[in-house]
């Protein structure tokens, strides 16, 4: 294959060539565009929520509208943004290249995944435009089955369809990693990004079907009044919670594991040092994946679950923190005796480690039974999961976008603006969500559009932070878009990174490599003195 082969971006300029592509890189770009659209919509809902919460009275929007807003925010951000974000954009783009393959195992299935995602997302959006849903993203019965007068079933259907998108992506990744690694690339030569996505894919294929069936049961209950979850007919609302959280807890690890994979690629590159404890990191990823299936009951400590179950889930939830802690230690240890530069991706990655650490520590509070009784269903939990999902996953997503932007687009984004945005996001994020820990311990429950007056100061701080955060998010949206068309050409490897994906052109040719890649390649062969 000659070096004159067109890059994947040049290989066809028609709409058809994009909408019917089988190229994993183009599909990744398609995902990036759709995910960003949903993020903006979900973000607008958040903006309205934070605006309402500036005053203790419910004066901006009515109670009912507020309930629909936080439901929309949750549904969109969880299923239409966070779960697909890193896997479907960066995973799709990079995994074939990182293993030295031309594409994923099932390219057409990959395109189908995207269409299912867009279709399901459109359905969900329909529900919102038709007036929204007011059940919360958790759809607890019997409110969602018997009492909610909103477009529950359309939303359930939308999420159901998006779920299959996830399942197919996970299936594709698993088969690809098993069967398409370049000759000589053993499992322990794989970048941790691939390990992270492999574990994520296992969770995707095993947990998402449980969600699918749960949503079906919910829809059946709502349509036919069966009574599965209705105590008046002999059913059990707690059964719904068990089924729902059996998926939704592993789901949060679907959201964080890929972010951890990203951090493990960025930090070694900009510390010019091999990642510390590669094997431990890989085992920790697998341990997190396995234990994640065993802790779902910690969402139900005050739900009426038995004391015995509570105790078991509590100790297991403490245990799942151990591999996560190990990863944090290893990332910091990677910095030791490195040669560190503070590019935008590195700022995002370091921010990720710090914010994930805080979020993870507060997870310990929630795992502790006596404390959870007080803080569950309050803003403490809201702060905890936003630290992990926004401070963790979104920071990592942005860091990944910046890190691999030269590879994906062939252009450089403006570095100074990148750093400013990263810092703005870090500051805005902390101002938004740290006060919420205090609010939670003081007793402000979740999903309240109006609250006791003494909580106002912290709410105002939080909303101010949200304003800064919004600006922080707008910046990359603008300059990344700008740089796609007007940025300086990046060259093949502007970061002098070691991953296999960096040993090909930017943007890559359609078949990823001009010459067969070397499976014995060491993706972490960084040395402090080697800055070229």
């Amino acid at each position: 294959m000659s070096a004159d082969a067109p890059s994947y971006l040049e290989d066809g300029y028609t709409l058809r060539s994009w909408l019917f592509t089988r190229d994993h890189k183009r599909i990744a770009v398609l995902y990036a565009v759709s995910i960003t659209l949903f993020f903006i919509i979900g973000g607008c809902a958040a903006a309205l929520i934070r605006l309402e919460l500036v005053t203790p009275q419910g004066d901006l929007v009515g109670a009912d509208t507020y309930n629909r807003l936080f439901t929309a925010h949750g549904v969109i951000m969880v299923w239409l943004f966070l779960i697909p974000s890193i896997p479907s954009v960066l995973g799709n783009f990079l995994i074939p290249m990182m293993i030295g393959a031309r594409d994923l195992a099932f390219p057409r299935l990959n395109l189908l995944s995207w269409y299912l995602y867009v279709g399901g997302g459109a359905l969900t959006l329909c529900a919102l435009l038709l007036g929204g849903v007011d059940t919360g993203w958790t759809f607890y019965a019997p409110f969602s089955t018997l009492f909610s007068r909103s477009h529950v079933i359309v939303t359930l259907l939308g999420v159901f369809v998006v779920g299959f998108s996830s399942i197919l992506t996970g299936l594709n990744f698993i088969v690809s990693v098993h069967t398409l690694r370049a000759p000589g690339m053993g499992w322990f030569r794989l970048p941790l990004f691939v390990w992270a996505h492999y574990a994520t894919s296992i969770i995707l294929v095993l947990a998402t079907p449980v969600l699918a069936i749960t949503l079906l049961l919910l829809a059946a209950e709502r349509l036919f009044g069966v009574g599965f979850f209705d105590p008046a007919l002999g059913g059990d609302p707690l059964l719904f919670q068990h089924l729902f959280w059996f998926y939704s807890h592993p789901a949060v690890y679907i959201m964080i594991l890929p972010a951890m994979g990203v951090a493990s690629e960025i930090i070694p590159c900009f510390a010019r040092k091999r990642v510390f404890g590669y094997r431990s990191m890989a085992y920790a990823i697998l341990a997190i994946g396995v234990i994640s299936f065993l802790v779902w009951g910690h969402h139900m400590f005050v739900s009426g679950q038995s004391v015995y179950a509570n105790v078991v889930f509590s100790i297991l939830s403490f245990m799942v923190a151990v591999p996560s802690a190990i990863k944090v230690f290893n990332w910091i240890a990677t910095l030791y005796k490195g040669s560190i530069s503070f590019t935008a991706p590195m700022l995002y990655a370091l921010g990720f480690v710090g914010l994930f650490m805080v979020g993870g520590l507060t997870g310990l509070f929630l795992a502790a039974l006596a404390i959870d009784v007080h803080v569950t269903d309050t803003y403490f939990v809201v702060a905890h999961f936003h630290y992990i999902m926004v401070g963790g996953s979104v920071m990592a997503y942005l860091g990944a976008l910046h890190f691999w932007w030269p590879k994906i687009s062939g252009r450089l984004y403006p570095e100074t603006l990148g750093r400013v945005a990263a810092l703005a996001i870090f500051v805005g994020f902390n101002l938004t969500f740290f006060p919420q820990y205090l609010l939670g311990y003081e007793g402000m429950p979740r999903r309240y559009h109006a609250y006791p007056a003494e909580f106002q100061l912290l709410n105002v701080l939080s909303s101010a932070g949200a304003g800064i955060l919004a600006v922080g998010y707008l910046l990359p949206l603008c300059y990344l878009l700008w740089s796609w068309f007007r940025g300086r050409p990046a060259g093949d490897n502007p970061w002098h990174a070691q991953g296999l994906e960096w040993h090909t052109r930017s943007p890559p040719p359609k078949d990823n490599f001009d010459a067969p890649p070397d499976g014995g390649h060491d993706p972490y062969d960084y040395r402090p003195e080697r800055t070229t």
């Binding site: 195992a105 299936l171 690694r181 049961l217 007919l233 059990d236």
Partner: protein, 222 residues
Amino acid sequence: MNRAGYDRLAAAPGGAGYSLADIRQEHQARLGMWVFLATELMFLGPVFVGYVVLRQQFPQAMAEASHLTDVALGTINTLVLLTSSLAMALAVETARLGARTFARRALWLTAALGLVFLAIKGYEYGMDWREHLFPDARFHAKDVRDQAGARMFFFFYFFSTGLHALHLLVGMALTLAMARTLAASPAARAARRLELTGLYWHFVDIVWIFLYPMLYLLERWS
């Protein structure tokens, strides 16, 4: 397996005639089908968990309600499905050995038996509907004390057999498509694809083998 593995396979005796791409594709397709079956298992798992929970909550109602199913038709259906799996297994094996015509006929038989299953199921559904066993507002289970429990049983019955029937329909479509592929494509490749369809068909059959006693045989002769 990575490419080095495929190289070794292609070089091995008996591997001649199979291109590297073929072998890899077959391996990928098989792995993909097994992963897909794992997702199907996780899809059905909660349904079976729900059944266990129901059986614990309403042991008597579940048993009494299950007596209202037609065990004769259920048993016939089980035999039909088992025979269809036999036909499918024969099809896969004879296709592998090159007997394409026989294999295609076996596939027609498989699909036909699937159709018989669905017809009998449809007839059962009709009877259930007339007897007011569909769990809507007009539900009434004859001679069952605990109507709530019976209603749950029949919800589970319609839900699980409905999902099963849907999967069977998909299986039949795949079977018929495979019958055409066997006629059209090179024998070896088609045979390998057929093996995956067989996997799917057998999975659907196994699910029924669990559903049959859960739905029809609860305390029937005790």
